[in-house]
């Protein structure tokens, strides 16, 4: 079965400052992810603000073009969909859900017009009557009734209801991928789980894959099949959600997990906080080296590479390869330990 989504070494750089002396910043830096397509999946992208998770989402939604690399959706590269022509085909495949439901709807339009326009524009329905059937149907899937939203404006709904309506809108063309950027950040704790449960339910009902972008690791753990952790533009860890969160392999994922204010487990009091607001970026080596408790000299000077811990779990950290630099050293290392359990590890990139 071919993967539903392949992100092949995608980078996106932004230029800061002057025409000639500006600085280039890689918001997304050589990210490679493959999402299996045998059954619908929910993949979470987690990371702190500025880690590039929203830029990656924009690349998948074609709101931005990658500077290098390409993204393949269900066997078709995104570049095959032109800017104008085939735009409709693209929107039938991929749909977004945004963070703030109050700003994603215009205050001067009734919310049902969005649903009807999506149904009519994307050729899901030929006329208003057919559209009504489609709209009623998707609203039912998210637990709302058409009679309840008919002719109402966004300010007449709560945030939770509006977010349900935007999910319903995204479902209209029966897309194969929905990209949700922090969909529950603006929603209260008592209602948050209702929305998150909806993703789980719709995944099977509509056979749709979700990319769930969040900084909240607890909901990510609850809802997702796969988790991708990002740090300063790099993908630093990818794998099964259970694997990653029960057994984090990258020191940054470990730090993130330790920092969640959990109920039931208090923080250790005497933990020494690394200098976590160090804005200085390490140009040569690992970007996390400055904050990393396991960093050795080599981490500051050599670019880290992906280490595969098993078939799907991979991590961008040399600690898992005994701080060996480069491929040669690694091969050598593996020869000597060909019987050890390490031999399942290999190197990509």
């Amino acid at each position: 079965m071919r993967p539903i989504l392949q992100i092949n070494d995608v980078s996106r750089t932004f230029k800061l400052g002057g025409m000639f002396f500006g600085k280039k910043i890689a918001a997304v830096d050589q990210v490679a992810i493959e999402l299996p397509g045998d059954k619908p999946q929910i993949m979470s992208i987690v990371g702190e603000s500025g880690s590039g998770k929203t830029t990656l989402a924009k690349l998948i939604l074609r709101l931005l073009d990658p500077s290098s690399g390409n993204i393949v959706l269900d066997g078709v590269p995104l570049s095959a969909y032109g800017k104008r022509e085939k735009r409709k085909e693209f929107l039938k495949k991929v749909q977004p859900i945004f963070q703030n439901p109050f700003t994603s709807f215009s205050a001067r339009k009734t919310v049902d017009t969005y649903l009807f326009e999506t149904a009519l524009n994307l050729d899901v329905a030929a006329n208003k009557k057919e559209a009504l059937a489609v709209v009623t149907d998707v609203l039912k899937s998210v637990g709302l009734e058409y009679a309840h939203i008919k002719g109402k404006y966004p300010n007449q709904f709560s945030g939770g209801e509006l977010q349900r309506i935007s999910i319903a809108r995204a479902l209209i063309p029966k897309p194969s991928l929905i990209v949700a950027d922090e969909p529950v950040a603006m929603i209260d704790a008592s209602l948050r789980m209702n929305i998150v449960n909806l993703f789980k339910k719709l995944k099977d009902e509509y056979n749709v894959n979700f990319i769930y972008i969040t900084h909240d690791l607890s909901t990510a753990y609850y809802v997702s099949d796969y988790i991708a952790t990002m740090y300063k533009g790099n993908l630093i860890e990818f794998g099964h959600a259970r694997n990653i969160l029960n057994n984090p392999s990258h020191p940054y994922t470990e730090l993130l997990l330790d920092s969640i204010p959990r109920v039931g487990k208090k923080w250790a009091e005497d933990v020494l906080q690394p200098d976590f607001e160090n804005k200085q970026e390490n140009e040569a080596g690992c970007k996390f080296a400055g904050r990393c408790p396991y960093a050795k000299e080599v981490c500051h000077s050599v670019q880290p590479y992906m280490v595969h811990l098993d078939a799907e779990h991979k991590v961008l950290c040399m600690k898992h390869n005994d701080y060996q630099t480069g491929n040669m050293a690694y091969v050598h290392h593996n020869k000597n330990h060909s019987d050890s359990k390490d031999n399942s590890r290999s190197i990509s990139g």
Partner: protein, 334 residues
Amino acid sequence: MLRLNQVSAQYNMLNGYVKAVDRVHFDVKKNEIFGIAGESGCGKSTLLKVMYDLISYPLEISHGSVEIHSQDKNGQTRIHTNGNIHQSWWKVISYVPQGAMHVMNPVARIKDQFFDAISKYHDKKDKKELQAEITRYLQELELPPEVLKAYPHQLSGGMRQRVLIALATFLHPDIVLADEPTTALDVVVQRGILTMLSAVQKKMKNSMVIVSHDMGVHYQITNRMGIMYAGQMIEVGPTEQIFNNPQHPYTKMLIHALPKVGDNSQKEGIPGTPPSLREPPKGCRFAARCPHAMELCRISDPARVTVGEDHYASCHLLDYGIGGGNQGAAYLTN
């Protein structure tokens, strides 16, 4: 010590009143961190404004009073009540507002913002002496003294929040109020800020009130907490008790709805939405969403019931000594 006596506060709008805080009654003791939890629009920020005496149109106190008991230099107990609390801002009570991004003057250096806020209350006449003292205090909190020369936009979100906390605690006030001190910050930075707040409190042995919608934050650093729903304080108690033995159905459902890493059980949110504070319903305000609601709940206000040591909740089910279970409903119908 800070005491709220059945305080009600409302916003006077042109077409009616929004009753944001309704007969809230609790104490904040000396040497503790008190947490206030609740969803957006439940009145927790308004309650904090009432405690800080930051009352201006359209907000008004319609009932009850706020009292702060503090000791002055000679060891005499002074009582400040609402209306004159603002005379003791910074010295007796200080406030860390929500959104460190927007509350500082963008065109003044941090140093000048310190002088602005503090000089009036400080006995040091000499600016240099005062600056030395501020530098010493920042070092005590492990903040680099260079921040004094910086403008707010040159600092990261987390650093700005730390500076605000340093400013609010510089004169060692008896009570520090913090409104959502860590929203919009990353978890790693959030942990640093919360650790700092709790370390400052331990050192000064004063009272701290922290408002947050995140139950995890309350579990981590508060000693006692209160849960607000639709303007009312529905449950108050020691944090451990609230999490291990919640009594009000809303508290129970709220705690049950929290997803946890490592927990694979199915979680359910609470159905429905909170009532409008413009015309709050009669009786218990949670009745419309409560699975145990009875006839009585829609008619009369539940009274505050003592359910444990220093632990109170307002629910009709508790009137019968039945801990918020289904039996309560059965008891009534029989």
